[in-house]
Amino acid sequence: MALLKVENLSTEYDTLEGTLKAVDDVSFEVKKGEALGVVGESGCGKSTVMKSILQLLPRNGRISSGKILYKNKDITGYNNKQLREIRWKEISMISQGAMNSFNPVYNIGKQLIEVMIVQGNYSEKEARDRAIELFEIVGLDKKRLNDYPHQMSGGMRQRSMIAMSLALDPGLIIADEPTTALDVVMQDRILGKISELQKKMELSMLFVTHDISIIAEVCQRLMVMYSGKIAEISTTHNIFKKPYHPYTMGLINAIPTVVEDIDHLVSIPGYPPNLINVLKGCRFAPRCPFATSKCRVESPEMKLVNENHRAACHYIEKADEFREKSHRTETWEGLLV
């Protein structure tokens, strides 16, 4: 059963230059107990998807069409009171704790306890006990509850953030770049922790990141976004093994590896397109080494590759050939950008 089902979601921002369609007709679902990774470059709409679900869009943003079904109820039309019933109790969030995600003037314990008392009807005593328990789960000393955010390291703040997201036993946790701004060693530990908790507690998660290598570690399924649309979605295993969208191929080939003997990494040249005046055709076409004239005119539909693998490319039948060529740097460098 799908815990979260997003159907044809489009989200727009009003800007001075016009309306920007940050998310365009996106559909996916998160099953109970599974972690879905959302990956893409800056501006691909992954954060907007996350903010649309939590309805934390800035004032100039709005969901223009589509549905977000949480436990089979459409939450897009919810008013503030209804949203408060969902927020944190049902859907919580792990934001970039290393950054300014904690209020600097209150200690961490206070902020943890706050949500339990205000949203979870805990008593002061129960909330404190729970906070200590949560700190144990994420591997922090309970003395640290009295620390102010600035007294903690980035990694500790991130652990506290994870502890806070678990506070009310939510149905779904949305992690927004939880390891950005951490050093690699700490990144690895935090990911290990998230992955461990996810498996042990069977958490349902939506994991947003720009780093596809992170997804491999934590998520069972993976969704690649490009320019406001889904490029490809499947199990992590499938996508890493047999990607069908040239963009995914580029992303995977850009991951450095210590196992295989590769001289140089592939990088995808160019930049994502402007989302205000959207071109016709496939949005990846200007950067795609395999693009044809058809790609520049006709926007590709989402195609079923197999039972749980979809990709938005006109030439999924040629994917084997593309995959072969995509390993070579010349394929990408031969491009006029």
Binding site: R84, S101, F102, P104
Partner: protein
């Protein structure tokens, strides 16, 4: 913390000492002869000399300075008022409290209202409420205080009869000591001048708060507070406004000094028997001991509020450690 407080107090003492020196010599540099004010010219030269000698005015300047300093430090004695012929301390004691009460009330009014309005203005940016608050705030900032005072007197005292015209208590009202400040009658007299003064000082904390809030509302922890499902009012005041307090607080100390110095007009319009009025009178009467002591008192009040503001930072922002 205590070390910091000690350091701050020592700094304040040094500043006060420098100030005493400057104020002392500043008044001696004025062209008018201070003795002329208090010694009747029709008296015989011998008698004149006698009176001067009794005040120590026949001594050379540097000796006068050391005597002055010695009296302040050892006896807390600021000399004798030339005009009232009584000790400066007792003249000022009855005035300073009136001024401090009026000033503090006004500043509390200005800051509590200003901070709340400023926070809401940023939150409801672009609303009619924001625009009208800016206009009202700037209007009272731009209008001269005495003018606002007169208009308010015209409307609320003469027109509507809600408040008394002047003074600090009704004629015939008797109370002694500190108790005279804790009566409905005193409060009734206080409201109008305090409001007028407060309105003048409203704009700055309000606009500072608004700007600080605008920055804070973009912080990730505010977004997280929404994600946590906290009630909006809690997010505005408990999370956002609490973080935006610092810049406005910084101005509190300087404003207080400015206010005590500038309150003279209000005291004049409302016939408030305070320090400001006394300074003007003292200066025009060449009553130097009184004027000197008044300046020192103002300086002292400013320093007191500065130390207070410093301590407040540490309380408001845990990142500031002394």
């Amino acid at each position: 913390m205590l070390i910091f407080l000690g350091k701050r107090l020592i700094q304040a003492l040094i500043a006060l000492f420098i100030l005493i020196t400057i104020v002392f010599f500043m008044f001696r540099l004025l062209p008018a002869d201070p003795t002329a004010a208090m010694v009747d010219a029709s008296l015989s030269p011998e008698t004149q000399m006698q009176i001067k000698a009794s005040f120590g005015l026949d001594q050379p300047l540097y000796k006068q300075y050391f005597i002055y300093l010695k009296n302040i430090i050892l006896h807390g004695d600021f000399g004798m008022s030339f005009f009232y012929r009584e000790s400066v301390i007792s003249v000022l004691a009855s005035r300073i409290l009136n001024t401090i009460i009026l000033g503090t009330t006004a500043i509390i009014f200005a800051y509590s209202l200003g901070l709340i309005l400023g926070a809401l203005m940023a939150w409801y940016r672009g609303s009619l409420f924001e625009m009208s608050s800016i206009i009202v705030g700037l209007f009272f900032k731009a209008a001269p205080q005495f003018w606002t005072g007169m208009i308010f007197l015209m409307i609320f005292s003469y027109g509507l009869g809600w408040f008394p015209y002047s003074g600090i208590r009704e004629a015939g009202y008797e109370a002694s000591g500190i108790m005279k400040y804790f009566s409905m009658d005193f409060l009734h007299h206080l409201i109008l001048p305090a409001t007028v003064t407060g309105l003048y000082y409203l704009a700055q904390p309000m606009l500072l708060m608004r700007n600080a809030m605008l920055e804070i509302t973009n912080e990730p922890f505010i977004e997280l507070a929404f994600a946590k499902g906290l009630p909006e009012r809690r997010i505005i005041f408990y999370h956002a406004a609490r973080n935006a307090l610092l810049p406005a607080t910084t101005t509190l100390a300087t404003k207080m000094g400015q206010l005590i110095g500038g309150i003279v007009l209000i005291e004049y319009v409302f016939s408030w028997p305070g320090l400001g009025r006394e300074i003007v009178m003292a200066a025009s009467r060449y009553d130097y001991p009184l004027a000197q002591a008044s300046f020192l008192l103002i300086a002292f009040v400013v320093m007191f509020y500065n130390v207070l503001a410093d301590l407040l930072y540490g309380f408001l922002d845990p990142r500031i450690v002394y």
